[in-house]
């Protein structure tokens, strides 16, 4: 199974979760996702997801002035985003459990 394919389905959840923990800007969010172990995530996917979530109304954004370079655009999760995260977490959990069970059945049978 290709991890990147799996990731596409849950990137929204991952991004929301990261932001739930702490506000962040694009590059930072990519870094945090990679730190957790999601090496497959593409930069473009993260930026695109952030834009989409923002347009959906799940995130807010604000600019933070920076001395070294351009202003950084920070994203923050809002209530809409939080409820979406909660919903998606439940869905993910149920899904992951079901897959685990199926895999367990196989293991037990073997």
């Amino acid at each position: 199974m290709d991890a990147s394919q799996l990731l596409k389905g849950v990137l929204d959840v991952a991004v929301l979760a990261v932001l739930e923990h702490e506000d962040g800007y694009g590059y930072d969010i990519v870094r945090r996702l990679r730190l957790v172990g999601l090496d497959e995530v593409g930069d473009a996917s993260v930026y695109g997801t952030l834009r989409r979530l923002y347009k959906q109304g799940s995130l807010t954004s604000y600019l933070v002035p920076s001395e070294e370079g351009p202003h950084r655009k920070y994203y923050a999760i809002n209530d809409v985003g939080r409820s979406q995260l909660e919903e998606s977490t439940k869905t993910w959990q149920a899904f992951a459990d079901a897959i685990d069970r199926v895999l367990d059945l196989n293991r037990e049978a073997a």
Binding site: L11, Y25, G26, Y27, G42, D43, A44, S45, V46, Y47, G48, T49, L50, R51, R52, K55, E68, G69, P70, R72, K73
Partner: protein, 344 residues
Amino acid sequence: MTTTTTTAEAEAYLEAVRAELDDLSGEERGELLEDLVGHLAEVSADPDDSTPLLVRLGSPVHYAAELRTAAGLPPRAGRTAARGRLQVTRPLREWAVVRRASEAWRHEWTQAGFAFARELRPAWWVVRAYVAVVMLAAIGGLDREDLPIPHVAGSRAFGLALMIGAVIVSVQAGRRASGTKRTVAVGLANAILGFAALVLFLMLQLLATSVQYVAVPTSSTAYALQSPHGPVTNIHPYARDGTPLHGVLLFDQDGRPLRTAEQRWWADGCDRVIDHPRAADGVPVEFSYPHDYVALPSTGQRCAVSPSAPEVPLPELPAPSPDAHDETPASGPAGEDAPAAAGD
């Protein structure tokens, strides 16, 4: 600090991505690119990451595509599965009419139609070869003899050989061109031949339906009778009571024999000449009507049917009065004695 990218490289990358997003609205594109600018800056400033830009981000095309998908935007127009390649510049594309035309172009029915037409290409290859040879033959003038194989340089055999050669060349060219981009020259040649084919087709229709008259006065005529519809090639006399007459000799007001033109072309393709009755001295009488057009012996089967007299709208005329002028046949120099019209 390890710099993994130069500004020039970053600029180039940015430009390439911008190009891939040029079908989006200015605002949308600006937002996405703004993120990328920031990202490129961060990437170059990162001490931990020394991967080259293209390795880290992938190709600009790929980056742009991934970005669009994640952002919930449709893939770039023109890279869709549809075979339609109607790409139009941005402002024009906004126009509803153009958009609808573009959609119609990409519609599966239109594409199915094109796919079908593509299957007919071999037939077109043969047709265009034929048309090309006909066009060549047309230089020397075309007539009925040129169907179906035209005479080229006077010879039908040569025309046939040329035709075969042209078909082979055309089909080979067609086969080689399949799948590759056609050159402008080929496209132009096709267009010209297509137009010529259409013209030829129309001409054939006309040829089939019209009866050609060619006025070829015989050497003994000073003039030929003309009607507003063209040369007169025969006269059909009828008596008052509707009986068709034969062997009628006609003269004009000055006593000159009335002559018609001789019909050369017939709708049934037959070749005919007038069989003039001969006078006692053997001289053919060319002003005896109606003309009897008979088939030339060489024509054979085609001319089984002799041309029939046309249907004519005969008026109902009252029976003549018992005064019998009209019954007196004119014979020889009867002109002098022709009685003046009797008063009634």
